[in-house]
Symmetry: C2
Subunit: 189 residues, 2 copies
């Protein structure tokens, strides 16, 4: 099973010690008998726009070469997962890869969106719309229904952890539980 | 060309008059000789979690049955596109569908992220990281590199419009320009 590749999607690529967090995730992957693939694994040159486009192409290629994706859906700069992570979840799903995910925020999407809008002063009276009259999803899911739906359709709930705000992008307890689930899924096949 | 199907991804599904906006988008699709497919096209029953999951499954099926996707990437509740839209862009891309997009925010992702973090009081001194020390993408792109990269790799820039804040989720001028580009792409094939 050593050659099964798990793509590690998530916003930790934005951390100052991203490579270190990636190495720790890969160590945990090895513990569960799979090979972790981190978005920063490809050595790329260039800068600015050209570098951005090269990273995009490299990450798509890394996902295509993987057997499963584990996403960090911890809310990033808003009530939802990082959009790059969301894109990669959809990409993997359409390729037929099993998609697993964890989040270090234990809350429900609707409540978290209300709290966020309230903080911005954009929660309308009645609390079911924002000040642009746009509705707030209330499906008792952990994030937008496309993300949560993809996971649950496979028979697995998102793995929920609970980390304090400072640690929420580096705490790997929920990641490890999710990884154990994902590795078990691969072993069943 | 009347049977070519264009999936219309975007956060306008959250508008109070979502169906009406969807119909207007479909009318514009017809003008360009394609069939618009709107996320709310499938009649679904149920409520709460079961309804959320049914919508997710229906939308994936609608994308699978489409020939091209046009996404509304106008920033939604943060500096980036709606995560459901991001997921659908990745999904369509991995299926091999051409992915086009427009946004009614003419700005660059880096600058918009800084403005957003500043509003939340989470922009660190130096302006290149947030208060969690996480970096801010600065690749001179219109959104996260996975989203912008998918579009540009095909040879098309995201179509930029400029609408005032109140109209930004209903103004369809940039959508129509993007649709003309997409229809031209289909005709070349």
């Amino acid at each position: 099973m050593g050659s099964l590749r798990v793509y590690l999607a998530g916003p930790e690529v934005f951390l100052p010690n991203a490579a270190e967090v990636g190495e720790e995730k890969k160590r945990l992957c090895a513990k569960y008998g799979v090979l972790g693939v981190f978005p920063l694994d490809t050595e790329l040159e260039g800068q600015g726009r050209a570098l951005g486009l090269a990273i995009s192409a490299a990450n798509e290629q890394l996902i295509r070469s993987s057997d499963l994706l584990v996403a960090n859906m911890t809310p990033f700069r808003g009530p939802s997962a990082d959009v790059g992570t969301a894109y990669e979840m959809g990409f993997a799903r359409a390729l037929g890869l099993p998609v697993f995910a964890y989040t270090n925020d234990p809350g429900r999407f609707g409540q978290r969106t209300r709290q966020f809008l309230s903080r911005l002063g954009e929660l309308a009276a009645g609390h079911d719309r924002d000040t642009h009259e746009m509705s707030i999803e209330a499906f008792d899911l952990s994030d937008n229904l496309m993300l949560a739906g993809a996971l649950i359709e496979q028979g697995y709930e998102p793995t929920h952890g609970q980390a304090d705000l400072v640690q929420r992008f580096v705490d790997l307890h929920a990641f490890e539980r999710c990884l154990a689930l994902a590795a078990g899924h691969l072993q069943q096949k």
